[in-house]
């Protein structure tokens, strides 16, 4: 009866109100935002409010050998917060204080439960931004975002979460509290543990405090929408813009399936006969933005594209509406939306897009592709119905092939969504058995009993 004893110990450490075992509540923590995943109930949901609480919880977990799953808002797309082996859901949402905004050093210190958007609201009066902007920016927590190393629409120019994490406080499975990194821009002391725990998906330790880098907010932005009759022209445009030394903040692509679906759904006035469109946004100092926008217009023209430049904020919002409508429009077509995250080097973008079209044909599936063309991060979105077992079989085959092609093109199986339980089986394809074994050694060293988020990434 070690589970019952463990729960008793948790109640003793945290108080009854922070330890939930009610069946109805546990059901609500048996899933996350990932489609097509098994659901599993935890035994208990525990809510810490400070680092000390986390230490106490992990000590109990370690003593009774109970698995622990750190969880923020549960918006991840790789099944990372599903309590696959039962045990403790460590709900971090109430550790949600912004501890410090240090404008002089361009950093902020936050607890893991802070919503990303709330941090941006808090730093805005200082003229600063925290650039990582996953689609779930209004709901996802900083802790979850750091643990998944999430990306977003501005990845091309601003990178992903790991490029902004400067320091971490992490509680290890035995309750040890360790701090790495800090506020200094230069910090090369010993192993880069900050990077190790960023994107570790809660499998190595529990993050309890995060120091992030902030940057000055861009003074101005200019958005453009380019249409192409041929997919290849769109792909070449992406490559040529970067070759012209222009790095847009955003360079998003939509394929024809997506364009037609979006137009059919939200009537934003997209040309449904074009094969691809690009939403490009350049930002920065006004003079530079003007010059970069002019370059973009020229490159699009050189590649047989038509372009519309937003004159003001209203028009800019109009262009963005099309991009924002992509996922909802696709999601409303069929009940189950399998959103993938295949990423290739930018120069292979066209090949990947063509491959995706062929995969859709081969498996007779409806795949709409949109995504972050500028950084080669595509979201082929398979529209299906999980109640249709035969079709789901084809979906799984198609997903296998998508990752195989991405890797063959020199890409990666995750650009921004993480591995979790959804993509663990593909890891050897990317790293080889040797690479995976190196990672397993790290996991075993820090979590010898495999209690931290078991069943994910390293198994």
């Amino acid at each position: 009866m070690s589970k019952a004893q463990a729960i008793e110990a948790l109640v003793k450490a945290l108080g009854k109100e922070n330890v939930i075992t009610e069946h109805e509540e546990l059901v609500c923590y048996s899933f996350d935002a990932t489609a097509d995943m098994p659901s599993q109930m935890p035994d208990v949901v525990v809510t810490p409010t400070n680092t000390h609480d986390v230490t106490e919880i992990l000590k109990v977990a370690n003593q009774y050998k109970i698995p622990v799953y750190p969880r923020g808002s549960g918006t991840n797309l790789c099944g990372d917060t599903i309590p696959l082996k039962g045990g403790i859901i460590l709900r971090m949402q109430k550790m949600n204080k912004i501890i410090e905004v240090d404008a002089d050093n361009l950093v902020a210190v936050v607890q893991p439960g802070v919503i990303i958007n709330d941090l941006n609201v808090a730093v805005a009066p200082f003229g600063l931004i925290y650039p990582p902007d996953p689609g779930t920016v209004a709901t996802a927590t900083m802790g979850g975002s750091v643990s998944e190393c999430s990306g977003g629409l501005r990845g091309l120019k601003y990178g992903v979460t790991k490029h902004y994490v400067m320091g971490l406080e992490v509680v290890m499975i035995d309750g040890t509290v360790a701090r790495f990194g800090g506020k200094t821009v230069k910090n090369v002391t010993a192993y880069d543990m900050v990077k190790l725990f960023t994107g570790a998906e809660g499998t190595l330790g529990v993050i309890t405090e995060i120091t992030v880098k902030l940057i000055p907010a861009p003074e101005t932005k200019k958005s453009m929408l380019a249409y192409f009759d041929k997919l290849e022209d769109a792909g070449n445009t992406v490559t040529e813009i970067v070759r012209s030394k222009v790095i847009p903040a955003t360079m998003e692509i939509m394929d024809q399936v997506t364009i037609r679906t979006v137009e059919n759904f939200s009537k934003v006035g997209l040309p449904t006969d074009c094969e691809a469109l690009l939403l490009i946004e350049v930002d920065g100092i006004p003079e530079v933005v003007e010059r970069e926008a002019a370059t973009v217009v020229k490159v699009v023209g050189n590649n047989n594209g038509k372009i519309k430049v937003a004159k003001d904020d209203v028009e800019r919002d109009g262009l963005w509406a099309a991009r924002r409508a992509a996922l909802p429009a696709l999601a409303q077509m069929k009940p189950t939306t399998v959103l993938e995250d295949a990423t290739v080097p930018r120069s292979k973008l066209t090949e990947m897009l063509v491959a995706l079209q062929n995969i859709a044909k081969k498996y007779n599936l409806h795949i709409g592709t949109f995504g972050h063309a500028g950084d080669g991060n595509l979201h082929p979105t398979i529209l299906t119905d999980e109640r249709d077992a035969e079709e789901m079989k084809r979906v799984h085959q198609a997903v296998d092939e998508i990752f195989k092609v991405a890797l063959e093109l020199g890409g990666t199986i995750s650009g921004e969504h993480g591995i979790g339980m959804a993509k663990a089986k593909y890891l050897p394809l990317e790293f080889g058995e040797q690479g995976v074994e190196v990672m397993r050694k790290v996991k075993r060293a820090l979590d010898p009993e495999n209690l931290l988020n078991p069943g994910k990434m390293m198994g």
Binding site: H23, V27, C28, T139, A331, T337
Partner: protein
């Protein structure tokens, strides 16, 4: 298949949820509890369990679904267009079928089904309310625990209900149109001046106003709590009452009443061979007072008299997201000469009232209200204008608790003032 009669009827809606969690960003209850069961995503998965027969009624399960304001913010914000609020209603109905409502709610709804008794009770209440409630500057507080939160300040019942003060037919001097007026309980028993303002303003515009005597509660409290039987009885009765009237429109002054006539009656009676079509015909005539004045009568508010007032507007959930009237109330108010509008940060965020929700979940309800009060405080206004009696009661309670100087008016009372100052 009607969603209220069989949870199977809501299956497609449940399947559509892709569990993205975007509802967390807008759910007022979730913002306070941070519990997954507080937000639509969690509730939808619980509803899926009920649908599959894997979960049956327990008091705890009913409580999860009870903890929802029906503010519809989740549905409005859902990228997949899931009507989450309807799933929650369908689940409440199913759980109520599996197990009767708690005694107090059941008793209350039984009274609703007997309009005469309900009316008698509230009239009696008006006479004897001093026994149970202590009067204070802005309203009353309960003298002893009667199931209401002791701290809560509620408005006094009117000495005389609206429907016994006004005649059934209120003719305009130069009549060109004829409407029926559904008063709703809060206007009939508490804020009777709102009803008088409706009649006065409509008469000014050459509209005859019929106030059918036999009308009663719209049934929303019962339907929303899952008592579908009562909801249907009320729906049929009102469809009968309003079908037989030869009027251009049926005016409501509350989004919950309006939405109940416009949407819920149609849904409740969808499978009924006699009532389905009749309910649709009645629904087509429903107009909130702001919608009727702006869109149907096309009143030129800039020609009205001056109203010197700096106001902020709270958009009731069931007026804005429910009936889709986000433009009309402000279009009307801001055109009135002399008036100044100071927008609060989130005019369409729920005030936490939600009818019986504020009675049974007072602490959460008040936390939600507190955010609205902070918003009001930040506007540099003296009057809060809204279009719903339930929101008004909730906001008045908060203003009184926090000793804030603002007072609350219904939109139509502001318009009435503009007509009066023209004279």
């Amino acid at each position: 298949m009607a969603i209220y009669d069989n949870i199977k009827g809501i299956e497609e809606e449940i399947i559509k949820c892709m569990k993205c969690g975007n509802c967390q960003a807008v759910c007022p209850v979730y913002k306070e509890t941070l519990a997954e069961s507080g937000v639509a995503r969690g509730k939808i998965q619980l509803a899926a369990k009920i649908l599959k027969g894997e979960a049956k009624y327990t008091p705890e399960l009913y409580k999860k679904f009870d903890l929802c304001l029906q503010c519809q913010a989740c549905s409005a914000n859902c990228p997949c267009g899931v009507k989450a609020h309807k799933i929650i209603m369908a689940a409440r109905a199913e759980l109520t079928r599996q197990n009767a409502l708690p005694f107090a709610k059941k008793a209350a709804f039984n009274v609703l089904r007997k309009p005469a008794l309900f009316d008698f009770g509230l009239r009696l209440g008006s006479t004897f309310q001093g026994l149970a409630f202590r009067k204070n500057a802005t309203g009353m507080s309960p003298r002893f625990p009667i199931g209401l939160e002791m701290r809560r300040v509620i408005p006094s019942l009117a000495n005389k209900p609206l429907r016994s003060e006004l005649p059934e037919t209120n003719k305009a001097s130069k009549s060109r149109k004829k409407v029926a007026f559904f008063t709703g309980c809060v206007t009939n028993y508490i804020y009777t001046n709102v009803g008088k303002a409706v009649v006065e303003v409509l008469n000014h515009n050459g509209v005859d106003v019929i106030i059918p005597k036999e009308q009663h509660c719209c049934g929303a409290p019962a339907t929303i709590n899952g008592d579908i039987e009562t909801g249907k009885a009320m729906a049929k009765s009102h469809v009968d009452i309003f079908s037989k009237l030869d009027v251009d429109a049926i005016i409501t002054v509350c989004g919950t009443c309006g939405g109940t006539f416009e949407q819920k009656y149609v849904e409740l009676l969808a499978d009924d061979p006699v009532y389905a079509e009749k309910a649709k015909a009645v629904a087509k005539k429903i107009r909130d007072i702001s919608e009727y004045l702006v869109d149907d009568l096309k009143v030129d508010f800039s020609k009205l008299g001056k109203v010197n007032m700096t106001f902020t507007y709270h958009e009731p959930c069931h007026i804005g997201r429910g009936m889709g009237l986000t433009r009309q109330p402000l279009e009307m108010l801001t055109k009135i000469p002399g008036i100044s509008y100071k927008a609060m940060k989130q005019p369409n965020r729920c005030c936490g009232g939600a009818g019986s929700f504020s009675l049974t979940n007072y602490p959460v309800s008040y936390q939600i209200l507190k955010k609205k009060l902070d918003d009001i405080q930040g506007t540099d206004s003296t009057v809060v204008v809204t279009g719903c009696g339930s929101c008004r009661m909730q906001i008045e309670d908060g203003l009184s608790q926090e000793k804030m100087p603002h007072h609350v008016m219904h939109v139509i009372e502001v318009v009435q003032r503009a007509y009066q100052s023209k004279k």
